[in-house]
């Protein structure tokens, strides 16, 4: 039974990898198969997976994860500027810097729980955001955002004789430029690795302890566990994921601005995780993709296009429909987002994965008893993947 559950994890993993890598094929009919958007799917997928390690497993709701994302972006750009345009050191730096940052903030914030924890993380993120705009301008370049310049030293590149001549150099993975489609495959590979690690964490004794903390933290202490380091590690790992996502943003576009640290950005990752299904493995990735997809589709519409779509309707009705619909598209797509947010929380607290599970249950009423696995590993997996 163990073997089979281990096996089903591998099936899940390879299925996930296949779906991610074939995105350019199956997204084409949806009009979403262009590199920019697919990169976003992968990057925010990483961000949401990481957020889920904290929120989904331990139940601690952080409202400040964007700070780690921003820190990761800045670290990656600095690696470009100071060392090399190769993305590997940039990403390593992003993860390490975000990890250290998360350790410091987590160490303090985890002294409290519940909404106090949420407010502490929010306060730290807002401080980082405000400072990035003001005092830390030498590091962050303030409102303009941190950019590459021709005069950057790039010590390692200079050592091997790569010099930027007339135009700004591009980030590369040992010579392969990481924008466009290659950039997508790079991000997709990172996403798959990130997913694999989160799968292992969720299935490990460590992950089980995190779930137990979510279930009954007091009991954990009387069971002999020191919950603080468990939570701190979950926080740091999840911060490192955010840093990784920030690093990936710098991989596809070598630019970092403070707006990435704003609390609305933290709210967005919360929404992605909840929408997909907090505590599930693939849910957050789906949530991230759905939101980025809708953002892209909805914000691209304009009034003329709407009029074309509804042109079949009688004139008076057409105008009404168009004016109502126009609230939800273009710049107003956040309205759609808010609505989606409310609908999910009200009707589907478990997110999309919960919906899938419910549909699955409806479809498979008859055969359920036979296929219901008895082993603990399987039942746990049932909870985690739906």
């Amino acid at each position: 039974m163990n073997k089979s559950s281990g096996l089903s994890d591998w099936v899940l993993f390879f299925g996930f990898a296949a779906v991610v890598l074939t995105m350019p094929l199956w997204l084409a009919p949806f009009g979403a198969a262009y590199p920019d958007l697919m990169q976003k799917f992968a990057i925010f997928g990483v961000f949401a997976i990481g957020f889920n390690i904290l929120f989904g497993l331990t139940g601690y709701l952080s409202f400040g994860h964007a700070a780690f994302l921003g820190a990761g972006s800045y670290a990656a750009i600095w690696s470009y500027k100071a060392l090399t345009m190769n993305v590997v050191p940039a990403i390593l730096f992003a993860v390490i810097v975000a990890g250290i940052f998360a350790f410091l903030i987590g160490y303090v914030s985890l002294r409290r729980s519940g909404i106090y924890f949420s407010i502490l993380t929010l306060a730290f993120a807002q401080m980082s955001y405000n400072l990035a705009y003001s005092v830390l301008t030498p590091i962050t370049n303030g409102e303009t955002g941190l950019q590459l310049t021709l005069a950057d030293p790039r010590v390692l590149d200079a050592m091997v004789g790569i010099e930027a001549t007339s135009s700004l150099p591009l980030p590369n993975f040992f010579g392969i430029i990481t924008t466009g489609i290659p950039g997508f495959y790079f991000c997709a590979t990172v996403l798959i690795i990130a997913f694999f690690i989160s799968l292992r964490i969720a299935r490990s004794p460590f992950g089980m302890m995190l779930k137990a903390i979510k279930s009954n933290q007091t009991r954990m202490a009387y069971t002999g566990f020191n919950t603080r380091p468990y939570l701190l590690w979950a926080f740091v790992i999840s911060g490192m994921y955010a840093g990784l996502a920030g690093g990936l943003m710098a991989v596809t576009d070598p630019l970092a601005g403070a707006e990435r640290m704003q609390w609305t950005a933290s709210g967005e990752v919360v929404l992605m995780t909840i929408l997909g299904g907090a505590g599930t493995l693939v849910g957050p990735v789906i949530g991230a993709a759905v939101i980025k997809y809708f953002e892209n589709i909805f914000s691209a519409f304009n009034k003329a296009e709407l009029q074309q779509i509804f042109s079949a309707l009688p004139d008076g009705l057409e105008n009404i429909v168009v004016s109502v619909a126009s609230m939800f598209v273009g710049k107003g797509w956040h309205l759609t987002l808010g609505l989606l947010f409310m609908i999910v929380v009200i009707f589907l607290p478990g997110g999309i994965m919960e919906g899938v599970r419910r549909i699955g249950r409806l479809m498979g009423i008859g055969k359920k008893p036979e296929t219901q696995p008895v082993s603990v590993a399987n039942s746990q997996q049932g909870q985690a993947n739906g």
């Binding site: 729980s113 929010l122 919360v270």
Partner: protein, 338 residues
């Protein structure tokens, strides 16, 4: 000395806004047990009530401009002034305070609708769900406003009589030469009045006593056979009215835009937490305190010693208070720790 007094005064008006918003947040949290992230949006809606009211009042028609004699020229004149030449201009001038009359019933209805339609179904849900659903609502409200009013701030003017500044030293005999805008003084007085009204209501009426008892121990009140549920809508409506009025009166100080609610909400939440979850007095005290602190932190003298302090002071205070006094300044044990 003058500089210090001036900074205190400067902090008070912002502090008053924090206090009014935080008061409603705490009231709703204490009685209903709901964390309302849409409370800032109500403040913003209040401000836009003033904007709308002002727009309705200044609806204008084209009138022949008599001052131009060479050709037929037209100018836009508010209907109100043409129809009521005496009262019209006065009403227009006092559009902001007058819009309170419109804002109060609107906010009350909005509060009822929110409580009945949405919040009610979230009493038993986890705090995370409450935060998320009201967060969604806040996004919706601000996007609707953005759709109709655009993204830019819309300046509103205070009545001409209060547009200038008062020489505080001359009027109140403090300091030597403290000049302070009249409208901010009005706002301050208004806030104090509203806060006193809320406290008087809670302490002097039977209804208020039940509400306070509910904040102390919700289960207990339920056991006494008092239908606390029915009173929830009223409490929620009251909180909405307070936030809405705070928004209306704040428009001449800060031109309202669609995201002002979120900006104030985040800070007000920090205020609530610093004051102590569930403590009304704490919320008010912390609101004023943080407003003043923020004002001091933005003094050049302070900024030159600790650069950037003005940007982070409120959050820094929140962090320190939470770590040193886990329940805030005046909070009780066991509130919101699950």
């Amino acid at each position: 000395m003058d500089a210090i007094l001036l900074q205190i005064l400067n902090g008070l008006d912002k502090g008053a806004a924090y206090a009014l918003i935080a008061l409603g947040l705490t009231l709703v949290f204490g009685t209903l047990g709901v964390v309302n992230f849409a409370h800032g949006a109500i403040f913003m809606l209040g401000a836009f009530c003033a904007v709308t009211f002002n727009r309705v009042l200044s609806m204008s028609t084209k009138v022949r401009d008599e001052s131009v004699t060479l050709f037929e020229a037209f100018k836009e004149v508010p209907i109100l002034t043409t129809k009521f030449p005496v009262v019209g201009p006065v009403i227009l001038d006092y559009a902001v305070p007058l819009s309170l009359l419109v804002a109060i019933p609107i906010m009350l209805l909005l509060g009822f609708a929110m409580e009945r339609g949405l919040i009610r179904h979230f009493y038993k849900r986890p705090h995370a769900d409450q935060i998320l659903v009201t967060f969604g609502l806040a996004i919706i409200l601000q996007e609707i406003i953005k759709h109709y009013f655009g993204a830019n701030p819309i300046p509103q003017s205070a009545p001409a009589a209060f547009a200038g500044s008062a020489n505080i030293s001359a009027y109140f005999g403090v300091g030597e030469n403290i000049i302070y805008p009249w409208w901010r003084l009005i706002y301050l007085a208004f806030s104090v009045f509203i806060i006193s009204c809320v406290f008087a209501f809670l302490h002097l009426t039977t209804f208020g006593m039940v509400v306070r008892a509910g904040m102390q121990d919700r289960e207990m009140v339920g056991m006494l056979g008092i239908n606390i549920q029915r009173r929830f809508s009223i409490v929620f409506g009251m909180a909405a009215v307070v936030a809405g009025m705070a928004g209306v009166m704040y428009t001449p100080i800060l031109p309202p835009d669609y995201h002002m609610g979120m900006d104030f909400l985040v800070l007000s939440f920090v205020v609530v937490v610093v004051g102590g979850m569930g403590s009304l007095g704490g919320a008010v005290a912390a609101g004023f305190l943080l407003g003043i602190l923020q004002s001091f932190a933005s003094m050049n003298e302070v900024k030159s010693i600790i650069p950037g302090i003005d940007q982070i002071i409120i959050y820094l205070v929140a962090v320190v208070v939470l770590l040193v006094l886990p329940r805030g300044l005046l909070g009780r044990k066991g509130v919101m720790e699950d």
